[in-house]
């Protein structure tokens, strides 16, 4: 049983116009076995939260803490975080020229486990995981994400999730750009990883359609760098119907709702 705890997180970035504060005090606790969904309008800071957890150097943490089972995540380098069990499925996975998928997957697995996987079982594991995600076998020969379609990139992110077996998975809009079939295949992948019982999930999404496949226990509404409301799965449905106007326009309502949510928590 592990806990990922984010407390009063403030994050800013350096832009040409100067420093810009993006996260304005985010608090969130995820435990093994739980699935949390984060929903919020464009530009509200969802990817910023995800990237900050993963340790992207662009984001400066100006206040607050992130801990994994009490360990200070912010003190860890990017690779240390991954080895500690954090996994970020990126909204825009990066193409890495010159590095084959096979080589990449084996190198990452070796780094995460601290020892090289046994070649025979590893090859079999990769093959099976790829088949389940309906990724063509010849993808292993291709360079990491190079020339992959949007949907293919997302599947390959989930492939890594299944192979690396993290303690916490942060899925940044993994559902965006997927057709209905792919959405199902990818969701099943996440659910398989979850079913092993050792993972907590933070799912960032704009759409409730993925929530038909992946069931969150908690839904957090994210507006302007803050969680403004928290609730159960029913909150997602309401958001789909009503949108975010309520939070964006009536800042007062949002504050009250957030306070309510905080009181309930």
């Amino acid at each position: 049983m592990s806990t990922l705890e984010i407390k009063d997180l403030h994050v800013s970035i350096d832009t040409e116009q100067g420093t810009k504060e993006i996260l304005k005090g985010v608090s969130l606790t995820i435990k093994t076995g739980q699935t949390h969904a984060i929903m919020g309008p464009n530009g509200s800071g969802k990817s910023t939260l995800a990237s900050t957890i993963a340790g992207h150097p662009r984001y400066n943490v100006t206040g607050g803490t992130i801990t994994l089972d009490g360990e200070d995540v912010l003190a860890m380098s990017v690779d240390e975080r991954a080895r500690a069990g954090l996994f970020l499925a990126m909204q825009y996975p990066v193409e890495v020229p010159g590095v084959s998928m096979t080589n990449f997957l084996r190198t990452a697995k070796t780094a995460i486990d601290g020892e090289a996987p046994k070649l025979r079982t590893w090859t079999k594991d990769v093959k099976e995981a790829m088949a389940k995600l309906r990724i063509d076998a010849d993808f292993t020969q291709r360079n990491v994400n190079e020339g992959f379609s949007g949907g293919e990139k997302k599947r390959v992110e989930i492939l890594q999730l299944e192979l690396f077996k993290p303690k916490f998975a942060i899925l940044d809009e993994t559902d965006s750009g997927l057709d209905v079939d792919a959405l199902k295949v990818v969701s099943e992948g996440v659910n398989r990883a979850h079913a092993e019982g050792n993972m907590g999930t933070l799912l960032i999404t704009h759409y409730t359609r993925i929530l038909r496949y992946i069931k969150p226990e908690f839904v957090h509404v994210f507006v302007d760098g803050k969680v403004v409301e928290e609730g159960g799965p029913e909150l997602a449905d309401r958001l789909e119907e009503e949108g975010y106007d309520r939070y964006v326009q009536g800042a007062g309502t949002a504050t009250i709702a957030a306070a309510d949510a905080a009181a309930q928590a």
Partner: protein, 428 residues
Amino acid sequence: MTDITTEKARIGAPSSQPFIDGFTEEGESLSPLNSAESKAPLAGDAVKAHSHGGGVGVPDSSRAGRLTSYTLADFKPLTGMEEDWRFTPLKRLRGLHTEVLGGAAPAVAVTAPEGVRVETVGRDDARIGSAAIPEDRVSANAWENFAEATVITVPANVQTEGEVSVVLTGQGEAASAQHLVIIAEKFSRGVVVLDHQGSAVVSENVEILVEDGAELTVISLQEWNDDAVHASSQQAKLGRDAKFKHIVVSLGGDLVRVTPSARFTAPGAEAEMFGLYFADAGQHLEQRLFVDHAVANCKSNVLYKGALQGRNAHTVWVGDVLIRKEAEGTDTYEANRNLVLTDGARADSVPNLEIETGLIAGAGHASATGRFDDEHLFYLMARGIPEKVARRLVVRGFLNEIIQQIRVPAIEERLTAAVERELAATDN
């Protein structure tokens, strides 16, 4: 890679002028070391140093018109302003362009498979001059001064197993001249590895004759000590239906300047020219190649890849491809890719394609210089891979494309290890 400069072109249309718009490479790119008085010194940006279609300066003269001669006196003393010397720091040539090259040439040790003839001959041997003629002063200086030549012959119809290994070990700092002749007679097949090691100041001429129907691979490895200075003109003459593969690997040395060329003399021949270079702080690694499509229906393919790291690591790649009027049906492509790993390194990349006939199958070039990207690094590290390992993964992948062309397992392994050592050097 981000921050990339790229051009690509396929040309199939006739052109009245020798240069296609945007294909000339000229102008401000004088080596800052040679041209203190230059009005337009190079901008400092390592990554964008490739200045395509630069603007100022005299228009390039056709490669076809370059002076060639066996006589040193025919070449004027170098100033560093010459088109083909503008990137080279002449001061670091250690006299290769000015002195009588009387020092002891690198010692030659040849191990050859059965059937291959190896001879040491005097200057008057008939085969000397059969494939090459100097195209610059440093090469002519070596021609005038070499004492004896090594001639390697794969006899007609002989298909050798294994490679001919030619180890050239530097004998010290006195400027010297070297001469080699490699002949693949009709319908023979062979692989020759020139393995340059030790410390030397040497100008070298390598003549390569690939006769009708022969298949020859020449691999030139420059794993010199840090202080070596090496200029090497490696000229190949290709007969009908000949197949020639040339691979240049420059890793060691203070200044290494390799000028390989492939000249087609009869139809149906093919040339593949590959190169790999890895420049560290202070190193100058230059490669200027020339493919002369002088006859119809020949094919050429060029790919050079370079990595750079450290302050004042400097690489130069110039690829001249000339498709003469007679060379109908030519198919050619040349590309150069550079990966800049640290600040303060500089890659110059100049593809030149001259097309004098429109009746060709294809002609193209590409050049890209990219920087090892923080986003690549982040992605790999976010999967648990430590920074050093991530860097190696990317560079190894980048350079592997060339290494795997070598197809001599022992050398592939050796070069892979050498690349690892280069990478390990950045870690400190």
